[in-house]
């Protein structure tokens, strides 16, 4: 809290200046020929922040300081020794530096050249949409091309969000709050009407102008979304200078998120409206490695090729991430004089998977389920009988899996044992060959074991959460491995949709019916066993009322009503349930 307040005071000092200039500038930053002409309001706040951060570092323990002496985080005022992120320092300036695939770069370049040469004549849209995962060099490519073409690059970046305190403060001074979306709309409007004429560049009118929209404002409601869409539409229709819109692909795993879905929609919308779309792929690990080794050479730090390889692999095609990892890694090496730290560093080196950095790779639950159910295996086993493998009977030996170890996949999918088991149980029969009853028998008996395991902790109310965790993960592992092992004759691969476990609905309806039965018991049968009512009284009622509706009309009405209602309810519930459950994943 204190931190934020302190920060607030600092930033609000310059609020007056900033706000006065805000409307005019729209945070335009001119970036020509690769040299930075920093925007006037940003760096100050940044330096303030930095000094705060440096102060805070003082508060941390000795270890931490020691680690960071390697980087020497100096106070913001220091200039010479100041270190920046390597990812920023080694920003690509030439085409050779770019790690992006050459074809893509050429594609983008060709587009720009065409647009700049025939900037007015044609009626094609002047908007280019570049998509791709984070850190594949979308902005870098555009910047490099712009500097190559000698074009002036104007960048619209999402303005820093207004914090609540800030708003409170400025509302006292008479400032109105402007939503980011509003700002974007005004910006688009201005671009359309007046082009990119801004006082600072009027001196050099001849160089072509490129507009880069790096980040679209986030929209949270349908209305805001439509507004954004409209203003983008306008932009696409009437932009007079080449405009690039960058949209970062998000992982599909969290695509349940509304905003990301909006972005997906937006992409296709832009394309429809007439923007040209070029999508970037993740950078190949070999070109990441090349860049990394270049950086290493310039920094004069010694990292073995294997380690580079690991870093490149772990980054998952994200070059920014890779360079950051490299920087962190070399920091760790620099402080290796400290015995404890060097220990851990060594351990890290020794154990390749112990490299802590790299992108967090998550899988969606359905992806993981698909992996398990499809049970893809290598064509033939790579014989490593020579080592310490047990001799296994033919009956029990299986070909190696075409995936990571099942536990790892489970972990990536953040699956819980119970739902995973339910899903597997519901779907597994589709994936077993029609004739392989024995396989089905094995699979189902494993699932039955899992159920028993899962029930143990449920029944014992075990307070010990460790036991519970172990049980859960054991159960999940048995379920998955049981299915992988048991399904010896998988059905020929074809499209299967993964169904939601019907079991959930059945349980729900059963509970509902049980309540009905309980109610009936209280009414008519003086507390006989529930099972007796279910197995004997109710069928008889059904049979009797079938033939002779006037007998026990009260109950018959109840029953038929219950039955009808039950059905309707369940069907409706299913829908609702469906949405809910899937959303929860």
């Amino acid at each position: 809290m204190t931190k934020r307040n302190a920060f607030m005071v600092l930033s609000s000092d310059e609020e007056d200046e900033k706000s006065s200039s805000k409307l005019k500038s729209f945070f335009c930053r001119s970036d020509s020929k690769g040299q930075k002409q920093p925007c006037f309001s940003v760096p100050r706040s940044r330096s303030c922040k930095q000094s705060r951060i440096a102060d805070e570092f003082e508060l941390f323990g000795e270890d931490f300081k020691e680690v960071f002496t390697g980087v020497k985080v100096s106070n913001g005022s220091g200039t010479g020794t100041r270190k920046e992120l390597w990812a920023d320092r080694y920003k690509p300036c030439t085409f050779e530096d770019l790690a992006v695939h050459k074809k893509k770069v050429d594609e983008v370049k060709a587009w720009f050249e065409q647009k700049i040469q025939v900037s007015k004549g044609n009626h094609d849209s002047n908007v280019l949409l570049i998509t791709g995962p984070a850190g594949v060099g979308k902005s870098a490519t555009v910047k490099v091309i712009a500097s190559h073409l000698g074009a002036m690059l104007f960048e619209w970046r999402v303005p820093t969000p207004t914090i609540w305190q800030e708003h409170m403060y400025s509302s006292n001074t008479g400032m109105q709050y402007i939503s980011k979306l509003d700002e974007f709309e005004i910006f688009v409007e201005r671009i359309r009407n007046y082009g990119l004429v801004s006082p600072s560049i009027t001196g050099r009118p001849l160089s072509p102008v490129i507009l880069l929209i790096d980040d679209l404002p986030l929209t949270f409601s349908r209305i805001a979304y439509t507004r954004l869409k409209n203003s983008l539409h306008l932009l696409v229709r009437s932009a007079c200078s080449p405009t690039v819109i960058l949209i970062t692909d998000t992982d599909h795993s969290d695509s349940a998120n509304d905003t990301t879905r909006n972005f997906e929609e937006l992409k296709s919308f832009l394309e429809e409206v007439g923007a040209r779309k070029i999508s970037f792929n993740p950078i190949t690990s070999s070109s990441i490695k090349r860049t990394l080794s270049k950086v290493c050479k310039q920094e004069r730090c010694h990292v073995t090729a294997e380690q580079l390889d690991l870093i490149a692999k772990a980054s998952g095609g994200d070059i920014r991430q890779a360079i950051a990892s490299l920087q962190l890694f070399s920091i760790n090496k620099n402080v290796s004089t400290n015995p404890t730290l060097s220990d851990s560093a060594e351990r890290k080196d020794g154990n390749p998977s112990g490299i802590l950095f790299g992108r967090d790779e998550t899988l969606s639950l359905f992806h993981a389920l698909g992996k398990f159910l499809h049970n893809k295996r290598e064509r033939e086993s790579t014989d490593f009988l020579d080592e310490d493998t047990f001799p296994i009977r033919d009956k029990f030996s299986r070909l190696p899996l075409k995936m990571d170890s099942p536990e790892k996949v489970l972990c990536q999918a953040h699956g819980q044992a119970r739902p995973i088991t339910d899903f597997l149980h519901e779907n597994v029969l589709d994936f077993i060959d029609g004739d392989a009853v024995d396989d089905a028998c094995v699979v189902l008996s494993y699932l039955c074991d899992v159920d028993v395991l899962l029930a143990i902790h449920q029944k014992n109310f075990s307070k010990n959460s460790d036991t519970e965790k172990v049980l859960q993960s054991c159960a999940a592992s048995i379920a998955v491995r049981g299915i992988l092992f048991g399904n010896d004759h998988p059905a020929p691969p074809r499209w299967h949709s993964i169904r939601k476990p019907k079991l959930w609905q059945v349980e729900k309806t059963a509970l509902h019916n049980k309540d009905k039965l309980l109610w009936q018991r209280d009414k008519f049968h003086h507390s006989s066993d529930l099972s007796v009512i279910a197995t004997e009284y109710t069928p008889v009622h059904r049979q009797i009322q079938h033939k002779q509706p006037d007998i026990r009309s009260a109950t018959s009405m109840e029953n038929s009503g219950a039955a009808g209602d039950g059905d309707d309810d369940t069907s409706m519930e299913t829908d609702a349930f469906d949405d809910d459950e899937i959303e929860d994943w």
Partner: protein, 417 residues
């Protein structure tokens, strides 16, 4: 009102079955006090009727004026409070409940609610005698072990003011400690001629003409459950009257359903499926089948079914065998999937999974070869145990069915292959 309720004997004096037990119970209560009682016996044998009659004997007709209460109890269990809803039937002198309704929270009921009820009661009745309250607990065998333990303690602590009457199907699921604190009353399933007598009695009261042997047939079908017999008697009456001596006695609908499942499991495929199964068997390399098919197709035209069974009887047998084999192999899983749907149907209707499994086994055993019976029974027992340990019955039921299919298949291969 169903006949079961209508002709339920109200007092110990006019019981139609178990007169001896009734006599003993009468003697027991005549001395104003009674020990804790545990009634056990198969379902439909008359435990409930005996208990009701006993209560009437003890408290007079006031025991019949019951009111149903559905009350939510808040129980403080250490760190959290648990809310349990429980329905009770109570008169001035007794309370009846099914503690096992609360599922795995049953021990709280036993610990707290029963204690509460046992404590709060008027100790002195109108005549100035020390009275006692009676708690009737149904389905004691379904209580968890913990609950039974706390029940034991409750029995000891409040034995001065409260009598417990426990009722269950199988005394083996009740802990030794509880059994030894109670007077155990075993209520046998009535004999078939006793059931016939009761049915004839009811028939006379209702003014029905019973054909000779009809009651006996119902009794035989009822599996010695009096309730079941009376219920199916009434169903027959509704379905067709006057009775004919060979009138079908309808089974319960879920039982029919189970036997449908069983025939699904063991069913032969229709010939339409043959082409498919033939190709799929080819893929699976079941050489022996192919050998047979080739042999058969040399001998005669199998595929147009035009042969005469009497002339080619051996061939016909062969064809049947192969046909049967093919049926077993193909689309078994498809059927397994159908079976799952049917079991879900049963479970939705609250048929207890144990009963489903029992019935399933019963139906399977009727159709099976003697050789397999032992193994199938073994697995049924195994999976029934699993079902008790586990949570979701469907997993275990299905595993049993798959196991059976696998056994049956290998049996068929061994026999006919």
């Amino acid at each position: 009102m169903l006949w079961v309720d209508k002709y339920r004997p109200k007092s110990l004096d006019n019981m139609n079955v178990h007169e001896d037990i009734a006599e003993n119970l009468k003697k027991l209560v005549s001395e104003q006090d009674c020990p804790h009682l545990l009634f056990y016996g198969p379902s439909g044998s008359g435990k409930k009727t005996l208990i009701m009659a006993l209560l009437r004997q003890m408290f007079g007709s006031s025991s019949e004026k019951v009111k149903v209460e559905n009350k939510a109890w808040k129980i403080d269990a250490g760190s959290r409070t648990i809310e349990i809803e429980l329905t009770t039937l109570s008169s001035t002198n007794h309370v009846e409940m099914n503690p096992s309704d609360a599922g795995f929270q049953d021990r709280y009921i036993v610990q707290e609610i029963i204690k509460e009820m046992a404590k709060n009661r008027p100790l002195v009745d109108a005549k100035g005698k020390r009275g006692f309250k009676v708690l009737v607990l149904n389905e004691v065998d379904k209580l968890s072990r913990e609950a039974q333990h706390s029940l034991r303690r409750t029995m000891e602590k409040y034995s001065s003011s409260c009598r417990l009457i426990l009722c269950c199907n199988s005394s083996s699921k009740v802990t030794e400690a509880i059994r030894s604190r109670c007077l155990n009353v075993r209520v046998n399933a009535p004999k078939e001629d006793q059931i016939v007598n009761v049915l004839e009695f009811i028939g006379k009261k209702e003014g029905l003409q019973l054909p000779v042997g009809f009651a006996a047939r119902i009794a035989e079908k009822s599996n010695r459950s009096l309730r079941r017999a009376i219920l199916s008697f009434e169903t027959c009456r509704v379905q067709q009257y006057p009775f004919t001596s060979n009138q079908a006695i309808p089974p319960m609908d879920w039982e029919e359903y189970v036997s449908e499942i069983v025939s699904d499991i063991m069913k032969e495929q229709s010939p339409k499926r043959f082409a498919y199964s033939y190709t799929s068997c080819l893929c699976e390399n079941f050489t022996f089948i192919i050998r047979k098919i080739i042999y058969i197709s040399h001998c005669g035209d199998y595929f147009n079914f035009g042969y005469q069974p009497d002339t080619h009887s051996i061939l016909f047998l062969e064809v049947l065998v192969v046909h049967r084999l093919l049926c077993i192999f193909c689309i078994v899983l498809c059927r397994l999937f159908q079976v799952r749907g049917k079991i879900y149907e049963l479970l939705t209707n609250c048929i207890p999974p144990e009963i489903v499994l029992k019935r399933l086994l019963y139906e399977l055993l009727r159709k099976l070869d003697d050789e397999l019976k032992h193994e199938v029974c073994h697995w049924a027992a195994y999976y029934e145990h699993r079902m008790h340990l586990g949570q979701k019955a469907i997993f275990h039921l299905e595993a049993f069915i798959a196991k059976f299919m696998s056994i049956y298949k290998s049996f068929l291969i061994a026999t006919f292959g």
